[in-house]
């Protein structure tokens, strides 16, 4: 394997992920295009891409919250406090627009707050339905997507035609399929790419042009496919959680540093981001709507009454990969996740799957306490 190639590619990704908003400023100057950020998790970035603008997904930075406390309560989740904080400091003024979707009450509040503290930046709001099974939900979703399309057209200064949208969907589907290929390589040989690095790969996809990212992933996959998989020693763990924000890399390093390997996950900045493609078999707006309503992985920001529940999905995934246990990462103050955790706990207990729940915070936490708990959990697995 050409180590330098993999290393070079990973350095390209890391360069995008470190200080993302500064990098976007540089990118805008060089490319003369608009940049529109969307909140995680459900916004169809393809719409922004089809408008000829660069879609990025808002990322939590490592900055301590200071100015933001004038605008947001301390009991809001880390990413909400952080985004509002850096917006208050002017660091999001590089963006031409920010569009939010309804995933939780904190996200809704963030959209309103950003409108107040970033008056020069367009802040949009896409109300995707949260109850998925009521009558008329498809028509409502299409209507809201069309409203958002119209807003983005105004921001871009031109129409977003269906052909462009179809092309963008194909670009995004390609990127997702490449990320799935990388995911499968890791499932077969987790030491091929540390989980921290896999997070960098996914997050960089959220921050750079998909075409460029796909080219780099193709090279990365080609390099990694040449590596002979080595047998995995130690415990195999499944990481679940962090509904919309990336876990801090230090926590992931601790998990992999106590004699375990993260073999699979359902993080937003992980498998959930690329698991499901848009099935392009008709009107593109309707295809985007269908992906949201029917095809996404179960997650408690919507009311998925029919179909598999999230905790059952986790159990299935854990059994599929043969993991020894689960690490559930809950971002502090993440209400949808906290409310759902008891069901996850019960389901894992019923299935006889050991798990440990680790609460994570935006602020620096005592890693030693987390390390002790995670190491004890791995020791307990035998």
């Amino acid at each position: 394997m050409s180590e330098s190639n993999v290393s070079d590619i990973m350095n390209r990704f890391r360069a995008v992920v470190d200080t993302p908003y500064e990098k976007l400023s540089t990118w805008k100057e060089a490319n003369g295009k608009k940049v529109v950020a969307c909140s995680p998790m459900h916004f169809p970035e393809e719409l922004i891409h089809a408008a000829g603008m660069l879609p990025v997904v808002l990322q939590e930075t490592g900055e301590a919250v200071t100015a933001g406390f004038s605008h947001v309560y301390p009991f809001f989740c880390g990413i909400t406090r952080n985004i509002i904080d850096i917006a208050a400091k002017g660091e999001l003024n590089v963006l031409d627009g920010v569009v939010y979707t309804d995933i939780c009450i904190q996200n809704r509040n963030a959209a309103c707050t950003l409108r107040q503290i970033m008056p020069t930046v367009y802040v949009g709001y896409l109300q995707l339905p949260t109850s998925l099974t009521r009558e008329g939900v498809m028509q409502d979703t299409i209507r809201e997507l069309e409203k958002t399309r119209a807003s983005l057209e105004e921001l871009a200064g031109h129409k977003i035609d269906d052909r462009s949208l179809e092309q963008s969907i194909l670009v995004y589907n390609k990127n997702r399929s490449l990320l799935r290929r990388l995911h499968e390589l890791r499932r077969g040989s987790p030491r091929l790419l540390g989980f921290r690095d896999m997070q960098v790969v996914v997050k960089s996809s959220m921050l750079m042009p998909k075409e460029e990212h796909s080219g780099l992933i193709e090279s990365l996959v080609a390099q990694l496919e040449k590596v002979t998989p080595s047998p995995l020693e130690g415990k195999r763990l499944f990481i679940s959680g962090h509904l919309c924000q990336s876990p801090k890399a230090d926590i992931l390093d601790v998990v992999e540093g106590v004699g375990a390997a993260i073999v699979d996950d359902d993080l937003y900045t992980g498998y959930r981001y690329y698991a499901v493609d848009v099935e392009l078999d008709g009107d593109p707006i309707e295809c985007l709507a269908r992906r949201y309503l029917n095809k996404s992985i179960p997650i408690p920001t919507r009311s998925d009454i029919t179909g598999i529940r999230w905790e059952e999905y986790i159990v299935q995934r854990v059994n599929d990969i043969g993991a020894h246990g689960v690490v559930v990462l809950i971002a502090k103050y993440c209400e949808p996740h906290i409310f759902h955790y008891p069901f996850i706990k019960q389901a894992l207990a019923r299935a006889g799957i050991p798990h440990i729940m680790v609460e994570t915070e935006h602020e620096v936490v005592s890693l030693e306490a987390v390390r002790t708990r995670l190491q004890a959990f791995v020791e307990m697995l035998g």
Binding site: A376, E379, M380
Partner: protein, 264 residues
């Protein structure tokens, strides 16, 4: 003859236990300190070896545990205090099902199955309330020697309610109660009730099955033990030296490693 050693590097004490290959305790040493660093850990190790008339060269395997297990430069393996306290308690009291450990700054509850393996555990998270530190702060606020707090608490018939969860706010509450003229015995009893309530919540996260063993420095406090027994409605068994249970467990793991090396 090679010996096995376990060193438990905690926040306030460093403990070493020396075992022979038949798992007989040859010696142990507890070093107290304001700051527990490598020097304190080495001192406990050297003094324990000296008491056993052994040298470092005769140590066949050394396991470190505790908060500082990764901090020290010696030791062949490190194992968490959860596994080590369970192992040590199970050795002393075969059949133990719950271990409650309250140390200087942390507390933990460990559930074992019938085979003596750890099946669940809970630790205090980000807060030292209910630990040895809590008792220290309160003893200082009341100007009572720390080692007298437990027995004094048992003399009260009307414990004061300390409602604050946080050590810092609880100290303010204690000062306030003192100023109001509340009896010192009642305040001390209230402090012990507060610790026991905190531990009761932690125990409930894991569930309690008898027999229950308590380890750690706070196990020497009769007030905490009796109050916890009342809340849990179960007898709590105390080792003769509760502070060394973790180091003992680490030494037992070291014996296993010694035996593996001999078989190889």
């Amino acid at each position: 003859m090679n010996v096995a050693v376990g060193v438990d590097i905690g926040s306030l004490t460093a403990k070493s236990v020396v075992l022979d290959s038949d798992c007989r305790v040859a010696s142990y040493k507890v070093i107290q300190g304001k700051i527990v660093d490598e020097a304190a850990a080495v001192a406990s190790l050297q003094q324990a070896l000296a008491a056993a008339r052994m040298t470092r060269a005769e140590v066949g395997f050394l396991v470190t545990t505790g908060y500082g297990r990764n901090m020290v430069s010696f030791g062949e393996k490190n194992i968490t205090e959860i596994s080590c306290h369970a192992r040590g308690a199970q050795f002393l009291f075969p059949g133990v099902r719950t271990v409650i450990d309250i140390g200087g700054q942390d507390s933990k509850v460990i559930a074992l199955n019938g085979g003596g393996s750890v099946v669940n555990f809970a630790m205090n998270d980000k807060c030292a309330a209910g630990t040895g530190r809590f008792l220290e702060v309160m003893a200082h606020a009341l100007e009572v020697p720390l080692d007298e707090m437990g027995m004094l608490s048992l003399k009260s018939e009307d414990p004061a309610l300390i409602s604050s969860i946080c050590t810092v706010f609880a100290e303010s509450e204690v000062i306030s109660l003192t100023a109001q003229g509340r009896s010192r015995l009642d305040i001390i009893a209230g402090i012990h009730e507060s610790i026991a309530r905190r531990m009761h919540s932690l125990v409930n996260q894991v569930g309690v099955s008898s027999p229950v063993v308590m380890s750690g420095g706070v196990a020497k406090n009769a007030g905490v033990v009796r109050t916890l027994e009342r809340l849990l409605k179960t007898e709590i068994i105390l080792p003769p030296e509760p502070q060394i249970v973790g180091a003992l467990g680490a030494a037992l793991f070291a014996v296993e490693e010694l035996k593996k090396n001999v078989e190889v």
